[in-house]
């Protein structure tokens, strides 16, 4: 595959701190008069000292092939936006270099350059030109853009009379019809009401499936999993991990889990201990779940002192610490030695992501041992739910949908007065 983007040791340093945001003119004038030759060099460097600077991005190297869709995840301030800005040439790297093969279009914000006094039509042209579209291209796609934004009737009205939703729709429509070889997308683009959001995300699906190279920033892990083959995880301006989305996304989500829980190892008594866990037949360690079918989970338990009339509990938590499932068996009798606790589960249709098993063992009168199983279980099945996390729910259910006319069994149809029937379809059309 031909290379689309290549970055080597890319870094960006910013100045921070409470110092004067715009350098003092007096200072610079003094400097200019005492050593005039430095004026050019100083101005280009940014005119500040070294100590008040931080690396917003540090030593970043990666490659993206043509047609690849790559996700970019990380907490706020991790350097995602800085990376997109460097690649789209808005700002310059301080260190390293990058090579971009092809025209880059960046959707970092919609509606840049919209002027309230101009009509929708006029703004489409100006905004399109700002985003890098040719006039002929805009003319060719104009009707499509307007139809997508659903503002046909108001296209010759100044946008100051538009609702904010309409403005955003029009702005997104222009941006969405940009057709560069490489597209940089920030998820904030999904704007407007739920119906329009679905349309935006659908458009992004289309774009990424048309063989375009896309670099996609999102906090919607479901979407990253759905669209991106590989994912880059940034933290504090540095790469934490680059690799297949299933792995990186789970590791990223698990990083939230580590801080959220795992604080519960209290009051262990000697006598028994859970040691390890694995999925599958036990032939080798396996912690990734890639099936909707039968699952086997095995937990090793070392028993030092015989337990009579004890209890065993199990629970499965998601990344946010919610219990997905829990169970307990009573009246457990165990002799000393190594044991295996084996669970056969017919189906575990959970939404992709990291989960953590929690197992415990109790004596008749006291708590003996528990284990927050590491590593976490990564569910890496294909996402089958809604594109947006908040609508996708907790489960990932294999399903089929069939919508068909229920003419024969429509209950109420016979009750309606015959005269009203012809009017109903007409009303529905309006």
């Amino acid at each position: 595959m031909a290379l689309a983007i290549r970055a080597e040791g890319l870094g960006k340093r910013f100045r921070v701190g409470p110092s004067v945001p715009y350098g003092s003119l007096r200072e610079s004038l003094t400097a200019a008069f005492t050593s005039p030759g430095r004026l050019f060099a100083r101005a280009a460097r940014g005119g500040s000292t070294r100590d008040d600077r931080i690396w917003a991005l540090f030593d970043l190297s990666f490659e993206v092939s043509h047609g690849e869709v790559v996700g970019l995840v990380g907490r706020n301030g991790s350097g995602k936006s800085t990376l997109l800005k460097i690649l789209s040439r808005i700002t310059e790297p301080t260190a390293g270099w990058a090579e971009v093969h092809g025209r880059i279009g960046s959707l970092l914000e919609v509606g840049t350059g919209f002027h309230p006094e101009l009509t929708g039509r006029e703004n489409v042209f100006v905004n399109g030109a700002i985003l890098g579209m040719r006039r002929a291209e805009i003319v060719r796609r104009f009707d499509e853009i307007v139809a997508f934004a659903e503002v046909q009737r108001f296209i010759d009205t100044p946008v100051k009379h538009y609702s904010s939703g309409m403005q955003m729709r029009l702005a997104f429509a222009v941006a969405a019809h940009l057709e560069p070889e490489i597209l940089l997308v920030d998820e904030v683009l999904a704007v407007g009401d739920v119906a329009f959001q679905r349309k935006c995300l659908g458009k992004m699906d289309d774009v990424s499936r048309k063989g375009r190279t896309v670099l996609f920033v999102s906090h919607q892990m479901n979407q990253i999993r759905r669209l991106c083959g590989r994912t880059i995880w940034l933290e504090g301006g540095r790469v934490v991990r680059i690799g297949p989305t299933a792995e990186v996304a789970s590791a990223y989500e698990a990083s939230f889990m580590d801080t959220a829980m795992a604080a519960e190892q209290v009051g262990h008594s000697p006598g028994a201990a859970f040691l390890t866990w694995t999925l599958g037949d036990g032939a080798g360690p396996c912690h990734a779940l890639d099936t909707f079918g039968r699952v086997t989970a095995r937990f090793t338990l070392r028993v030092d002192r015989a337990i009579h009339g004890g209890r065993h509990g199990i629970a499965l938590y998601d990344a946010e610490g919610r219990v997905m499932w829990g169970s307990q068996i009573d009246d457990v009798h165990l002799e000393p030695g190594l044991h295996e606790v084996v669970y056969h589960i017919d189906s575990l249709p959970l939404k992709p992501g990291p989960y953590r098993w929690h197992v415990s063992i109790f004596g008749p009168d006291r708590f003996i041992n528990n284990l927050d199983c590491v590593p976490e279980m990564s569910v890496i099945t294909t996402p089958l739910g809604h594109r947006r996390d908040e609508y996708a729910g907790l489960l990932n259910l294999p399903h089929t949908v069939l919508i068909r006319r229920a003419a024969a069994t429509n209950p109420g149809a016979d009750d309606r007065p015959a005269a009203a029937e012809p009017a109903a379809p007409a009303a529905a059309l309006q």
Binding site: Y22, F40, S88, T112
Partner: protein, 280 residues
């Protein structure tokens, strides 16, 4: 940052800029449509938002001319080298207004568009360039007013009038050369915004708009012509009113001054534009 063609796809190399950068004028040509749309947007907005619209392009120079005629023509009796004073001063106000509008707008152009600059890439040179071009619309309108005035006073344009486009170009380049410096400096030092109205004010008195070059002692004229607008105003009066001999030496000195300002302005702008998005 450089562009090259391998096969069909352009390749962009992104790396920290070295000491000297190319002026990137070829890339500017690629973005000519954006320039067109930005100019078009400004002109449209300018005439849409104001109640009097196009009339402002007439009112401003005409009223300034009336005030100058009363104060400098009637009261101070400044010489106007043979032409009626109103026409004499209007012929200079024409390029002056173009210059001061273009200078003011281009100085603020980068800062005004900071939202766009931090979100989208295009050659930043487009911004001051567009501001300067917008001024030409007003210029054409007030030029029509001057033609009407000359007809009223019975003055025929001289044969040298065909050189006018050249002098308009010189005016625009003068404004652009200073505008490049100021717009780039404005990103870092917002003082510029307050200094520009003050600067244009002083500059006008340093330019023979209200008075004639003939009141300047000959010994000082060479030095005086280092102000590029001196050459511009002289050229306008020469081309339109046929006053005195050709302004050759003044124009040559002024043009040379513009060239120096323009080249240094271009280099400074290109050197600093890399950091616009970080600083603005």
């Amino acid at each position: 940052m450089s562009t090259e063609l391998t096969g069909a796809l352009p390749v962009y190399r992104l790396r920290p800029s070295r000491r000297w950068v190319s002026l990137g004028l070829g890339e500017l040509w690629d973005y000519r449509e954006l320039l067109y749309f930005l100019v078009w947007r400004e002109i449209k907005v300018r005439y849409k938002q104001t109640a009097l619209g196009v009339a402002w392009a007439v009112i401003q120079p005409v009223f300034t001319m009336i005030v100058f005629s009363l104060i400098f023509g009637r009261l101070a009796h400044l010489p106007s080298d043979g032409a009626p004073y109103p026409v004499f001063t209007f012929a200079a106000l024409l390029p002056w207004q173009l210059f001061s509008y273009a200078l003011t707008e281009s100085s603020n152009s980068v800062v005004t568009n900071q939202r766009v600059i931090t979100k989208v890439y295009f050659p930043r040179l487009i911004l001051p360039l567009a501001s300067v071009c917008v001024g030409l619309a007003d210029f054409l309108i007030s030029f029509a007013v001057l033609m009407a005035m000359m007809a009223y006073f019975g003055i025929r344009p001289t044969e040298a009038a065909w050189t006018l486009p050249l002098w308009v170009l010189l005016t625009v380049l003068t404004a652009l050369s200073v505008g490049l410096w100021l717009s780039a400096l404005n990103v870092r030092y917002r003082d510029i915004k307050y200094a520009v109205p003050f600067l244009t004010n002083i500059w006008m008195y340093a330019t023979p708009v209200a008075y004639s070059l003939s009141i300047i002692p000959p010994a000082w004229r060479r030095l005086y012509a280092l102000n590029p607008m001196v050459g511009v105003v002289q050229a306008f009066r020469w081309a339109l009113l046929g006053q005195s001999r050709s302004p050759g030496s003044a124009v040559a000195i002024s043009a040379a001054a513009v060239l120096v300002l323009l080249m240094s302005g271009l280099v400074y702008f290109r050197r600093t534009e890399q950091t616009f998005a970080d600083v603005v």
